[in-house]
């Protein structure tokens, strides 16, 4: 096949995988890191910074946005992309919860 069998897992497991996917591409990690460094941010800045084409960056931003990690303020013709800190924090807590639950004594 090629498609993941999502229906055989618990929602928690699927959520974890979905969240991890956001960070599973270096461009998205780089974008998140870059946005966080700026006061505000414009998509074209990201294009210059990362070195991928504008459509590709836009596509990655869409993935990040669909995960709820962005807040976009429209400023004229540009868009000021910002990190949604609350959601980001939520992700961190989910990760830590998973890590802490999974760590256990074994062998």
């Amino acid at each position: 096949m090629g498609a993941s069998k999502l229906d055989i897992y618990t929602p928690e497991i699927n959520d974890m995988a979905t969240i991890a996917k956001v960070f599973a591409h270096p461009a998205r990690v780089a974008i998140l890191q870059y946005i966080s460094k700026q006061e505000g941010c414009i998509c074209n800045d990201i294009v210059d910074e990362i070195g991928l084409s504008q459509p590709t960056i836009s596509q990655h931003l869409k993935v990040i946005n669909e995960a709820g990690l962005l807040k976009g303020n429209f400023v004229g013709k540009s868009i000021c992309y910002c990190l949604n800190i609350n959601r980001f924090q939520e992700f961190q807590e989910l990760f830590n919860s998973f890590f802490n639950k999974t760590k256990s004594n074994c062998c």
Copy 2:
């Protein structure tokens, strides 16, 4: 294309993405969770538990193993797969470091 341009990112960013990829598939999340629940664990148990074929599970285990997250003790003809807690802890710390660095004031 279809291939990620790995050479344009810092090693830290690529590492982060590589680690996240391990958790970016629900089967692997489920496998990790299951292994951590057992005292030890045998591949065939995982096959029964998760509901994917033996080759598919074996393939996912390989990905997890290549990330350094497994310790395998051969027990007779079976393999006792165990979580490499140290490495797992290391992953957690890397994630937290990334999250903490990225959280910043914006907009």
